[in-house]
């Protein structure tokens, strides 16, 4: 069955990486971020800022918006087998539903990770032009891995599975709403998940890279037990919690899919 998992992963990745919407949404959001950031953005960091801080700041900024595009693009990946009329064929093949779901999930994360990593590497190249520090490239990869990737893995799980319970368009609306409420809305306005260990924008890992509070990580607010002081341990805990939260939707995906096919 391992062969099947890799086959699904490979083909899911291949199909998605060919989607123009994936590249257009990534490029559009990335350019918007690069151009429209305020004067507190990473473009305006002092020349003496170290590479970890520069790339950590960029990664957090991209991580605030890029996953919105990814969530929109991924929302129809599991339901589209039914829409296209390929679900019956898939269900007739000697492949367990678990392998299908796991493969599609891994392929989806990989397909969104590639453009995200590319965006960070291109940014690192831009910074390299005037900072001249080759470590920027190394820190771009590290920042991608600890700030962006856990959030992508978290978003992908919900974006794939939620549309099995309600429609993909409704999911997109709810997802965009959640994103602003749970990640960007300052915790002092409304009770919100912003600044907690559960925020998928990578506030804690970015704070660890930058060496101080990156955005709202640990700022006082609702659910104070989820708001420890930022640092290496808190960053790791945040990544682990996101991975744990992404598991239930993936576990429920197989029975949800089976119910859909057999009705």
């Amino acid at each position: 069955m391992r062969g099947r998992f890799f086959a699904v992963c490979r083909y899911e990745f291949r199909m998605q990486i060919r989607k123009r919407s994936l590249w257009l949404s990534t490029a559009g959001l990335a350019v918007l971020i690069a151009v429209a950031q305020g004067d507190r953005g990473p473009r305006h960091l002092p020349a003496a800022a170290d590479a970890a801080r520069v790339m950590g700041s960029w990664a957090l900024l991209f991580s605030m918006l890029l996953p919105i595009g990814f969530g929109m693009v991924l929302a129809d990946r599991l339901v589209r087998d039914h829409r296209l009329g390929a679900a019956s064929l898939l269900a007739s093949l000697p492949t367990r539903p678990g392998a299908l779901v796991a493969g599609k999930y891994a392929g989806s994360v990989a397909a969104t990770a590639v453009p995200a990593l590319l965006v960070l590497l291109v940014t690192a190249a831009g910074e390299f032009v005037h900072r001249g520090d080759p470590a920027l490239f190394l820190w771009a990869v590290v920042a991608f891995a600890v700030v962006l990737l856990p959030g992508l893995a978290f978003v992908a799980a919900f974006a794939l599975v939620c549309p099995l319970m309600f429609s993909a368009p409704l999911f997109r609306v709810l997802f965009a709403g959640y994103w602003f409420w749970g990640n960007l809305l300052g915790p002092n306005y409304l009770p919100s998940l912003t600044g907690t260990l559960l925020t998928p924008i990578g506030d804690y890992p970015a704070s660890w890279l930058i060496g101080e509070r990156a955005l709202y990580a640990g700022a006082p607010g609702w659910l104070s037990f989820l708001r420890p002081e930022p640092g290496g341990g808190a960053a790791l805990l945040s990544v682990v919690l996101l991975a744990v939260l992404a598991t239930p939707p993936l576990v429920f995906a197989s029975p949800l899919l089976a119910r859909r096919t057999s009705s």
Partner: protein, 289 residues
Amino acid sequence: MDIMISGLRRRFGRVEALRGVDLAVPGGMFGLLGTNGAGKTTLMRILAGVLPPTSGRVLVGGHDITTRAGRLAVQRRLGYLPQDLGLYPDLTTHEFLEYVGLLKGLDDDAARRRQIGELLDMVGLSDVARRRLKGFSGGMRRRVGIAQALLGDPALVVVDEPTAGLDPEERIRFRTLLAQIAGHRTVLLSTHIVEDVAQTCQEAAVMASGRVVFTGPVTGIIDRAQGATWEVVTQGPPPSTGVVVSAVGRPGGTHYRVVSPTKPDPAAVPVQPSLEEGYVALMREAVPG
């Protein structure tokens, strides 16, 4: 792989799609005829392990399809072409077949690619093997569908209305292809097109409203209209009793062929029925009115 079905039922909410199906399918090519909504697709989806039955027993090659192990054993030797199969528009023909082949467990790369090459030749798609599936015509999609079904040399091939919507030439090519591959396996073919069954199957079953109303040699269907098929030549209106199967306008009057248990017109003469007329007679018995 032979199929033994007994007491098979399947309901969807308040609709009972299969109401106690008993059917034995031997090897070779077997036709499954029936009206819209008769339950052919439901039956085939159950055989393919896609849909669980509500009740009843289904043995395929001795494996019980209602158990997980039995279903997997059948699926390993199954080729299935669903009705209205959708293909991934962003893959090429070759990639799609690769994908299905891998999911069927054909892990030997060289052997799988060789088989894909042979199948593409067989269905006449070698020239477009590297083209994206987006924009393929109905006939081409159907040929990709049959190629994927045949991957892995399945012992049981289940094809659900593979000839619907094809032009006559393509239809004939397609059903001939199916008959060719039926030599050493079981091919279950569902269709509305009586002619497809007449030309390719020795044995067939006919379904109506969730039941099997006939099963046996195809000639048995013709026999149902024996003594009940008539020709009437008239310049007036068509006969009012029976079912008019054909009407050909000629200078001396319109020639009607009518299926009716009783003589539909004083001038009617009995004629030798065709398979289609047998089918019509069967349907009149099965679904009165």
